[in-house]
C-alpha cells in the first residue's frame, strides 16, 4: 500500500502548504460590485498599479447586489475592501453589514451614468420619445380606453401617430442586472406616472411600483442577457430595433448607433451631468474603513480614485463615459472620502 501512503502524504503536504498560504497577509486590494462601476474601477486600478508599482488590485464584476453580499460578509482579509454600486446601499444591506461587524463604511458618489435607448444610424427617423411613450411601448400592462389591460401595442404608430409604422422591438438587460433595475425605476415608473390614466386616477407610488414594474413578455421587449455588447451587435444588424444599455456603450459606438431623445433631450455627457436627460443614475462605491491602514496600499488606491486626474471632468474616468460631479460636490466628496467619513444608515 505504498501507493496509498504516498497519496495520503501528498494530500497532507498540500493541506499544510495551503493553510500556510492563507496565513500570509493579503497584499492586493480586493474590489467587487456593479458591472456598471467595473470599467471605471478597472481604469483606476490599472493606473494605480502602473503609477505606484503596488500589486495590482483584484477587481471583480459581481453585480451590485452580489457585491454587497460579499462586502458585508465581514471584516478581515478574506473579505472585500471596496464594492461598487449602481444605486445607493439599501437599508437591508446596511443591516447585513452591521450584523457582520462592518459598521464603519464610507460612501462615495463618484458620478452619473445615463441609461440610453439607442437605435442604429441606418434608421432615418428622428426618434424623440416621452417617457410615457416608452412605458406604453414596453410595459406589461397599459391603460386602453380607461381600462388597465395587457399591452396591445405592436407598432410605434399605434402609440403616437407621429411615430413610424414599424414594429416595436427593444433589446434590454435581464432582471438580474442593475441596469434593468435602474431602467424600470427611472424610465418605466416615471413614464407610468406620466400617463393620464395614472395621473388623474389618484394612484399612489405604491400602486405604480406594483403595477408598472413589469416589462412586457409577449415579444416586443427581448431580454438579451447581461452582455451589453451583444445588444449593440443585435441593433446594429436590425435598423428597426432599439437597445437599452449604459451610456458608455453608446459613447463607444457613436459611429453606428444614435441615442433616442427622451423628452426632447439627447443623451450626452452634458445633458446627463446637468440632469436634463431624465434617465440617469448615480454610481457609488463603498469603502470598509476597518481595512484602511491594514490592507497595504488601500489608502493610496482611494487617493488615486479621488484624485482630480481620475474624477474631474476631462479626467480619465470621464474619457470612459463617466459623467462627473459638479466641481463643488466633487471637492466635498474628496474631503469626506479621504477623511473616512462614516455613512449614516440609509432610510427605508
Amino acid at each position: 500500500m505504498l501507493y496509498l501512503k504516498l497519496t495520503a502524504s501528498a494530500c497532507a503536504v498540500a493541506a499544510i502548504s495551503t493553510t500556510a498560504a492563507f496565513a500570509q497577509s493579503r497584499d492586493a486590494i480586493r474590489i467587487v460590485g456593479s458591472s456598471t462601476v467595473f470599467p471605471y474601477t478597472q481604469a483606476v486600478a490599472e493606473q494605480f498599479a502602473n503609477n505606484t508599482g503596488a500589486p495590482s488590485p483584484v477587481v471583480e464584476s459581481t453585480g451590485t447586489g452580489g457585491g454587497m453580499q460579499i462586502f458585508c460578509g465581514g471584516i478581515g482579509e478574506s473579505h472585500a475592501d471596496i464594492t461598487g454600486a449602481s444605486r445607493a446601499m439599501k437599508a437591508s444591506e446596511f443591516e447585513l453589514c452591521q450584523q457582520n461587524g462592518v459598521t464603519d463604511i464610507t460612501e462615495a458618489l463618484i458620478g452619473f451614468d445615463g441609461l440610453s435607448l439607442a437605435i442604429s444610424r441606418e434608421n432615418d427617423f428622428d426618434w424623440n420619445l416621452t417617457l410615457g411613450e416608452v412605458y406604453l411601448a414596453l410595459g406589461a400592462q397599459v391603460p386602453v380606453n380607461g381600462e388597465w389591460v395587457d399591452n396591445p401595442y405592436t407598432k410605434w404608430s399605434e402609440i403616437n401617430p407621429d411615430l413610424p409604422e414599424t414594429e416595436i422591438l427593444a433589446y434590454g438587460p435581464p432582471p438580474t442586472s442593475g441596469t434593468r433595475d435602474a431602467f424600470v425605476e427611472l424610465a418605466m415608473h416615471a413614464g407610468c406616472e406620466e400617463l393620464d390614466y395614472v395621473a388623474n386616477g389618484g394612484f399612489d407610488g405604491d400602486w405604480v411600483e406594483e403595477n408598472c414594474s413589469r416589462m412586457r413578455t409577449d415579444g416586443p421587449f427581448v431580454e438579451a442577457g447581461e452582455n451589453d455588447n451583444l445588444i449593440v451587435q443585435r441593433i446594429e444588424a436590425d435598423p428597426n430595433a432599439m437597445g437599452i444599455f449604459g451610456y458608455s456603450f453608446l459613447y463607444e459606438n457613436m459611429d453606428k448607433l444614435k441615442g433616442v431623445q427622451i423628452e426632447g433631450v439627447e443623451p450626452s455627457i452634458e445633458t446627463i451631468a446637468d440632469k436634463s436627460y431624465p434617465v440617469s443614475r448615480p454610481l457609488y462605491f463603498y469603502i470598509k474603513n476597518a481595512h484602511r491602514g491594514v490592507i497595504p496600499n488601500l489608502d493610496a488606491f482611494i487617493e488615486e480614485y479621488m484624485s482630480d486626474d481620475a474624477l474631474a471632468s476631462g479626467g480619465y474616468l470621464s474619457e470612459r463615459g463617466l459623467v462627473p460631479l459638479a466641481e463643488d460636490r466633487m471637492q466635498t466628496l474628496q474631503g469626506n472620502v479621504l477623511n473616512g467619513q462614516s455613512m449614516e444608515a440609509p432610510a427605508g
Binding site: A28, P39, A49, S56, P57, T62
Partner: protein, 430 residues
Amino acid sequence: MTDIPSGSVARTTMDMVRGSLSRRHRKQFILQALGITAISLAFLMLFILLASLISTGHKAFTQTEITLEVFIDPEEISAERLPRGNFDDVLAAALAADLPSVDPNDRAAMRVVGGILSNGAQFQLRDRVVADPSLIGQTIALSVPVSDPYDQLRKGLLDRETPESLRRLDDTQIAFYDRLIEIGAITSSLNTGLLTNADSRFPELAGLKGAIMGSFWALLTCFLISFPLGIGAAIYLEEFAPKNKLSDFIEVNINNLAAVPSVVFGLLALAVFIGWFGMPRSAPLVGGMTLALMTMPTIIIATRAALKAVPPSIREAALGVGASKQQVVFGHVVPLAMPGILTGTIIGLAQALGETAPLLLIGMNAFITSAPATPFDSATALPTQIFIWADSPERGFVSRTSAAILVLLSFLIMMNAIATYLRSKFERKW
C-alpha cells in the same frame, strides 16, 4: 415434378427479393445521403465558426506601433525623482517634432498629440529610464504601441467616410496619422503583447499572460489532485473491491457525477472551499480544486475502461508464476493500461481547460493587471478572460476576444493531439 412446389416457393422468395431490390437500394442510398449531409453540415458549422473567428481575430495578431526619437529632457525627468517624472510630456514632445503643424506650447493640441500613443507608452519609457538612469539627457529610439482608435484606423475598422462628428478620430487626428505614415514612423508588427502582457483596460496593451498562467496553475492543481485520486479510486474499484451492492452503488454514482453540470461544482466550491475553509477568492488553487472535482469522474471512468481492456491472460500468467495481487496490478496491469489512462486524463484536463461556469462562481473573472506568480495569487483563466473581453465596450476588444478564442482552441487542439499521439504510439493490440 415433386420439386415444383419447392421451385415455386423459391421463385416467390427470389421474386420478393428481386422485387424489393430497388427499394432496398433506394433505402441504402438515402441512408448514405443523409450521413453525408450530416457530416457536411457539421463541417460547414465548424468552417463558419473558424472562419468568423479568424476573420475577426487575425487583426489582433498584429499591432500598430510608432517609432520615436525621444529626447529624455532632464528638465522634465530628473534622476532624483525617479520613478516619477513627466514621461508623457516627453513622449508628446518627441511626437510633436514629427508633426510640424503642431505648436508645442498649445496644451490642448499637445494632449491630442499625446493621445496618439497608448497609455502604456509612458510606462514603457519610464521602465527603460529607471533601469538605466544614465539615459537622461540622451536621445533614444523607442517603439511604442499607438492607442486603440489609431490601431483600428490602420486595420480599416474605422471608416474614413463616416461623418467627422461620429468618428472616434476627427480630421485633424487623421491628418496626424497620415503624416506619421508618410514619414514612415508607423509600422505594424507581430503582436507579441497578446501573449506576454497581462490584462489591461486598454485593448492595445491587453494580453493573455495572466489568463494563461492562471489556467496553467489551475490545471496543474487539478492534475495533482485528480490524477492520483482518480487512478487510486479506479484501481481499487476495478481490481480490489468486492463485487457487491455497495460497489455497484459507488459505480452508478461516479457515472452520474461525470454528467453533473459544471456550474453545480462551482456552487459547491463557493460554499465549501471559500465559505467553510476560508480559501481566497479568484485563486487558481481553488479553481484547480473545483476543476479536479469535475475531472475526477472522467479519469476514474477512463482508467477503469483501460484496466478492463488488459486481457485476463496477463493477470493469470502473473498469478500463475506466483506474483501477489499487488504485484500483478502494479507490475503488469497498470503499466499496460497507462496509455489509455493518460489519454483519458489529458481529455479530462482539456475539458477542464475550457470550463467557464465554475470559475465565474469562484471569482476567477476578476480584472487583474498582473500575472499570477503562484497558485495563491488572484488570476483569471483563458475562458473567463474571453468572457471579460467579450463584455468590454472598447472596439479593440472585439478582435481580441476572437484572438483569445483562437489561442484557447489551439491549446485544446494541442492537448487532444498529444492524447491521440500517446494512444497510437503506445497502445497495444491484443
